[in-house]
């Protein structure tokens, strides 16, 4: 349809002028509605969960005020609203059979939340509810199931073919409803062992248990020791003569901070040395506001001045870790007190001076069980440890 540069005349000749019919182009009176804001709430309690990408989901909710009021009698001062996630990948969820469960603390008034996940290709159901300080959770409403997409090609390289039935639906398991999967049976039915063969043979050795706590402990020892050695701030006892007029010494038996719940005084009196013999002494911060610059004669520290308590971060962290570790030790049956280990006939020849308090004498053991004991790592080495796991 090539044409040479047309003049206006030739255009009119070849193309009927498109006089729009009156009816066509008339704009309708139009509605010109005022746009109001959308409703803030719809008066019902609901929560919806949607996947954004393999590692992110989004939940929005609404709680009807009267329903929230009705639950107020169950609250305690520290009640926390939370989203309780249930991992329901591949199962028909009935409220109790989730694969895993975790809480995400939220603010109820936010009415929506984005939650980052760590594993793709899963299905989640979420309960919106309130959790009390004692851990009990009561749910207000349960969401739909959201499926996060896979983030990588599948590991499964089986190849299956299905015939296409043109014009009829193929009856096959639907991707929308993941079926309840029967547990994978490693031994096919035809190979079930007869009863007389179902005994563990004599030479059987239980596989070595991976001693995670020990590994962690060793790592902590390695990490902490250089801190003690290198940084003068954390030196056991500063030489008093170096600090001049502002120096003060603190009797080593009386730490100036307190650790809640710990029998520090009790522990200080026993043979076990405190965590760090002495304390970390810091230059006390003297805050002099510019307007209050002291005159020469006033520039001395008054006697009754108590320097502010120095915050020994390393010690606080260490105490926390030690508490966690002791707590962990106390709970794991494998990590029972040395008393239990000795009585079971495990190897007792590992030197454990710090655990002397946990000796076979029962009374001391029980007294010490609850309060955390601080051990002097400078005296410990990697073998100063008892593994509670006995190898039978």
């Amino acid at each position: 349809m090539e044409r040479e540069g047309p003049s206006k005349q030739s255009i009119l000749a070849t193309v009927p002028s498109p006089q729009p019919q009156a009816a066509d182009v008339r704009p309708s009176p139009g509605l010109q509605e005022e746009l109001e804001a959308l409703p803030k709430s719809y008066g019902r309690t609901t929560i919806v969960l949607m996947a954004v990408d393999p590692y992110l989901v989004h939940a929005y909710w609404e709680v009807a005020p009267k329903e929230l009021e009705a639950t107020k009698r169950l609250w305690d001062p520290q009640v926390q609203s939370a989203l309780r996630f249930y991992d329901v990948t591949g199962i028909a969820f009935d409220g109790t059979n989730a694969r895993a469960c975790f809480d995400v603390d939220v603010q109820l008034a936010a009415e929506n939340w984005y939650v980052r996940l760590w594993s793709p290709g899963k299905s989640y159901v979420v309960d919106l509810g309130l959790r009390r300080a004692d851990g009990s959770f009561f749910a207000l409403v349960r969401s739909n199931t959201a499926h996060t997409p896979p983030a990588a090609p599948s590991m499964n390289v089986d190849v299956r073919y299905l015939p296409i039935q043109v014009g009829s639906k193929v009856q096959e398991m639907s991707a929308a409803e993941p079926p309840v999967r029967a547990p994978a049976v490693a031994i096919p039915p035809s190979k079930i062992l007869p009863p007389e063969q179902r005994q563990t043979p004599g030479g059987y050795r239980r596989p070595a248990v991976v001693d995670i706590a020990r590994t962690v402990w060793k790592k902590l020892v390695q990490l902490y020791r250089p801190l003690q050695e290198e940084k003068p701030d954390y030196a056991p006892r500063p030489p008093a003569e170096d600090l001049g007029a502002l120096a003060y010494t603190r009797p080593p038996e009386q730490p100036e901070y307190s650790v809640p719940g710990a029998g520090i005084a009790a522990s200080a009196q026993t043979a076990a040395a405190p965590l760090v013999a002495g304390s970390a002494v810091r230059e006390p911060a003297v805050a002099i506001a510019p307007g209050k610059l002291l005159r020469q004669e006033e520039g001395q520290m008054p006697d009754e001045h108590r320097p502010p308590a120095a915050i020994d971060m390393a010690r606080i962290v260490w105490e926390k870790l030690a508490r966690l570790y002791h707590h962990f030790m106390g709970e794991e049956p494998g990590y029972r007190l040395k008393a239990a280990v000795e009585s079971s006939g495990a190897r007792p020849d590992i030197p454990t001076p710090q655990f002397a308090a946990y000796s076979a004498s029962g009374t001391e053991t029980s007294a010490q069980e609850t309060s955390p004991r601080f051990v002097d790592l400078t005296q410990m080495d990697e073998n100063s440890f008892v593994s509670g796991v006995s190898s039978r």
Binding site: D24, G30, L31, P39, V52, R160, L162
Partner: protein, 525 residues
């Protein structure tokens, strides 16, 4: 004998924008630009190939919103008004560039082009562009696939499965009403697939759909041939995956063909350079500066100093690039055919707007490509998806992975901080719609009309274009206003239906304005 196939699909979509209440609407121009720059040039290119006896195959998706707008008499006449104004503007430009020997030929080229388009619109297609595509489909050169009613993003709407079903049902019904046959293929909006979409498509008799690359490569189990053969959903439809090698090469203005220095520069429109008085009313009645389509400069390179466009150079480049694309595909298919035990298919879906609007020489490139495919080699043949499935009806069974072709490949574009607030309203409205249809039962007369209109308003609010625009920031206020408007109208209709107190005058006015989908299409059998 060919060794493999190339399946190109052009996805044609525009949101339903129809503003009879405005004398001159800014957003309606999207449709007019698309008709002038994309759809008529594509049709003309394909008809030229047919006239030359070239055998080719190409697939199109024309969404119900686009097809409705193309067939709406009011918008058709508005288009004629617009193209008439553009022709006048081009005439003014020819006079104005008198003496500028490099620019005046371009002004004449545009004038000629606009006249050609208008002539085709009136005489060849009789104002109905969709009929042009239908004719090509009847000739067997083109396969048109259906799409969702208002291009709703199904993975996020599927929280209410009936809402997703309604999008698919109305889309398929609309296709049947227009084309007189059942669609075999379905274009999921934004290629948004979610577990359960396969069943939904199977319920409506759909035999295939196309997903983004990782929708197929992350399928369970892993597809043996990657994206180079379709996989079969357990529920029935076959799923084709986009070939990644074809994509950026063609649509990226940075890495691909459209960025070539000789092609026309999109961002140098005369509408931003001439006086407002000069432009009004050709471009917009109130002197708003929007693209006129007359652009005199070429890309030139990464510089602000753009040089004058030389059509002959651009045309030559389009042919070179078509040959380049073809040679890449030949080598790709030769390699694939050597390692596969069947003929590979390379699937290349694109937005139709790329061809002509963003990339002015796109339709020319496509024409050269299809011509070269037919005449200059034997390794590849262009094919439609139905033909490939007819040759290979048995495909590996796998469940596709949830995915989309949006930025980052999942749902983030439509569900992020800027637009997540819409979903509580959309889901609630979908629930309300279910309740309304249950309550009303056998309604007729005004109540039936109100129910249908409520359905229309809900479908219009569900369009994926609105959250997309809000997320990208372009036209965000318009998109927000559209969602609020349609939800507001829906709420009002719902209230009036429940109270049995329907305001007929308001209902008629709303029906006139949001007139997508006739009652037959909406009716739940």
């Amino acid at each position: 004998m060919e060794k493999g196939y190339l399946a190109i699909l052009l996805h044609g979509h525009l949101p339903f924008v129809r503003h009879p209440e405005h004398e001159d609407s800014l957003e309606e121009n999207w449709l007019y630009e698309a008709i002038t720059e994309v759809y008529i040039p594509l049709l003309l290119a394909m008809e030229e190939l047919v006239a030359d006896g070239i055998d080719f195959r190409i697939s199109f998706s024309l969404t119900p919103t686009l097809a409705s707008m193309l067939r709406d008499p009011f918008l058709q006449s508005r288009y004629l008004r617009k193209i008439g104004r553009l022709i006048e503007l081009a005439e003014k430009e020819i006079k104005r560039t008198e003496g500028q020997s490099h620019i005046q030929p371009l002004a004449q080229m545009y004038h000629q082009r606009f006249c050609q388009v208008r002539e085709a619109f009136l005489n060849r297609y009789h104002r109905d562009v969709v009929a042009g595509f239908q004719r090509l489909q009847e000739l067997g050169k083109v396969e048109i696939v259906a799409s969702a009613a208002t291009h709703g993003f199904l993975p996020l709407l599927s929280v209410d499965p009936l809402a997703a079903r309604e999008q698919v049902r109305v889309g398929v019904r609309h296709y049947e009403a227009i084309f007189g046959r059942s669609p075999k293929g379905f274009w999921l909006p934004e290629c948004g697939y979610y577990p359960g979409a396969g069943e939904l498509l199977a319920e409506h008799g759909i035999r295939f759909t196309i997903l983004e690359t990782h929708g197929v490569t992350h399928a369970e189990p892993r597809p043996r041939y990657g994206v180079h053969a379709p996989i079969q959903c357990p529920s029935g439809p076959a799923v084709f995956g986009r070939d990644p090698d074809c994509s950026k090469q063609v649509w990226s203005s940075v890495e691909g063909y459209p960025g070539d220095p000789d092609y026309r520069e999109f961002y140098r429109d005369i509408a931003y350079e001439r006086d407002v008085d000069y432009l009004t009313p050709h471009v917009h009645e109130h002197g708003l500066r929007i693209d006129s389509g007359i652009k005199y400069y070429r890309v030139t390179g990464k510089t602000e100093d753009k040089q004058v466009y030389v059509p002959k150079w651009a045309e030559r480049k389009a042919e070179i690039h078509a040959g380049d694309f073809l040679s890449h595909r030949e080598r790709q298919i030769e390699y694939l055919a050597s390692v596969m035990d069947r003929k590979p298919i390379v699937v290349a879906p694109y937005d139709a707007e790329l061809f002509g609007h963003w990339w002015y020489e796109g339709p020319l490139w496509l024409k050269h490509l299809l011509r070269k495919l037919a005449r200059e080699q034997n390794t590849i043949r262009s094919v439609t998806f139905s033909e490939y499935l007819a040759e290979y009806p048995h495909n590996q069974s796998a469940t596709p992975a949830a995915s989309s072709w949006g930025h980052k490949g999942f749902n983030e574009v439509w569900l992020s901080g800027s637009n997540d607030w819409i979903y509580r309203h959309l889901h609630q409205a979908a629930l309300q719609m279910e309740e309304l249809s249950d309550l009303s039962g056998r309604a007729d007369g005004v109540k039936q009309r109100a129910l249908h209109q409520a359905r229309r308003e809900l479908l219009l609010a569900q369009s994926s274009d609105w959250p997309f625009m809000i997320h990208s920031g372009a036209m965000a206020e318009y998109a927000t206003a559209r969602i609020k408007l349609h939800l507001q109208r829906f709420q009002r209709l719902a209230r009036e239906i429940e109270a049995n107190a329907i305001d007929e005058a308001w209902l008629s006015a709303t029906e006139d304005q949001d007139n997508i989908f006739v009652a037959n299409v909406l009716a739940t059998a």
